[in-house]
Amino acid sequence: MLSVVNSATGLVNGFFEWFGNLGIFSWNVLKAGATPPYEWRELIRQLDEVGSKSLPLVAMAGAAIGVIISLEARYSLSRFGAKSMFPATLVYSVLQVMGPIITGLVVCGRVGAGIGAELASMKVTEQIDAIEASAINPYRLLAATRILACILMLPLLTLGTDACALLTGWFAQTLVEPLSFHQFIQDGFKGATFNAFLPQTFKTAVYGLIIGLIACFQGMQTRGGAEGVGRAATNSVVLGSLFLILADVVLVKFILIVFA
């Protein structure tokens, strides 16, 4: 009985300790990132790493999602005699729900694991200590640049995912029932306002914050050789994805209240 209580206490302590350390880490990154000297060159390198190098992957994921939604939507709408709603269903499904979350999860897998493993490897080989010993703030050079790159790039990547999904969704529909792209877009966006799509796209900046912050935190807190590096990469993806989905619940509710 005592051992159960002890292990439960340990778990609760570990939980609060983790969040406490994340809070301290976030404050250090914010302080370092907001004050000069700014690491522009590293930021540009990270924008390329997070943005351009993720684009093919999110484009492919978007293309696949477009086809899947197209197939599912046509089948469901046909059953209810609402085939004319197909363009709007596809556009709203992609832009409001699937595009942002798929982009977030794909980038979390690629970039989160990459950042987590890279920083963890630097930590266990004392490269981060060497940066600190060279009088360079590692929070500014390594963490702030990566987190900012994720924040800036996620909305742009989401636009890429959305575009590919709409294109392949329309193409899959056209193979079965010809529909001009112009007509598809016109019907899909009929009556739509910017408020319906922009907040959903820009909420991915919060996904970027979560992905970058969790991955940098996991990487820079690593201890214990190759096993620690593996654990940091895994935790970056698992925790990043989990927090991303949880944040989406809050963000969707927030957007519905504010931009309804």
């Binding site: 250090n28 370092a32 004050t35 000297p37 630097m122 080989t125 004392e126 490269q127 200590d129 060497a130 600190e132 010993a133 060279s134 009088a135 360079i136 703030n137 929070y139």
Partner: protein, 262 residues
């Protein structure tokens, strides 16, 4: 003409004639989880002087260096660099002090995604923004030539030997012309010839640059070659501090046992 400070330094009398030690450690304690790693260590190092910190593996020698450069924080005690207390100093303020220090890590800790030349240029790119690209290139060439690595500019750290990595690490540590040089096991894992070459290199740099150096090592032969004074640690406590002759004349059992390796 020698200043009062230089004379005091040569006589190994820190604090005399207004010459305060460059590094002064007082009653330093550090614990990891429940293990006391350093227990009440006090040391000082003057300009132009090399102090070797000796001891068995796991006696807190490397931790001592990390405390001096502020990568670790002590539980209690004081670390003063040029009379400035660094314990509890903010990271950016600490950065200013670190610019005066060079650190050679035990495994060199070269940035593995950068070439040899880029590794050495790294501190210059961040702290000497007034330097043009060609000036920086010249400085890197000069530093690599100083450590005998002039032909390996474009090699990656993974393509060079452990001894060569330490030379590059040393060149990087010297990039900002430090007044204090901290060397963590500079000869560990090297063959006797490479160890001798690194020792000669450290001696040459000391003669030319007159830095205050702290060398952590368990290589007594190397310590005897490069150090003016030696400090022997055991289980986190200072056993003895003095010249090599002082150690030889000591009747402490642990000192005699340690000297047997010669």
């Amino acid at each position: 003409m020698a200043t009062a400070c230089d004379i005091a330094m040569k006589q190994k009398q820190p604090g005399k004639d207004g010459c305060s030690p460059v590094v002064a450690i007082e009653n330093l304690r550090k614990t990891f989880v429940s293990q006391m790693v350093l227990n009440g260590i006090s040391l000082s190092v003057n300009r132009g002087e090399t102090l070797a910190v000796l001891g068995r593996s796991g006696t807190g020698k490397s931790v001592l260096l990390r405390l001096i450069i502020g990568i670790e924080t002590p539980d209690s005690g004081s670390v003063r660099i040029h009379d400035q207390e660094i314990v509890g100093l903010a990271l950016d303020r600490m950065g200013e002090i670190r610019k005066k220090m060079g650190f050679l890590f035990q495994h060199a800790a070269l940035y593995d995604s950068l070439t040899v030349a880029e590794n050495v240029a790294f501190p210059l790119e961040h702290h000497r923004r007034d330097m043009s690209r060609s000036e920086r290139g010249d400085r890197v060439k000069q530093l690599l030539a100083e450590v005998g690595m002039e032909g390996d500019f474009d090699k990656m750290p993974s393509d060079i030997s452990g001894g060569m990595q330490k030379r590059v690490g040393l060149a990087r540590a010297l990039a900002l012309d430090p007044e204090i040089l901290l060397l963590d096991e500079p000869t560990a894992g090297l063959d006797p010839i490479s160890s001798g070459e690194i020792d000669d290199l450290i001696l040459k740099l000391q003669r030319e640059r007159q830095m205050a150096s702290v060398v952590v090592t368990h290589d007594l032969h190397s310590a005897r070659t490069i150090a003016d004074r030696l400090a022997l640690l055991n289980e986190g406590e200072m056993v003895i501090e003095g010249t090599f002759d002082d150690l030889q004349q000591s009747n402490i059992g642990f000192v005699a046992e340690f000297l047997k390796q010669l």
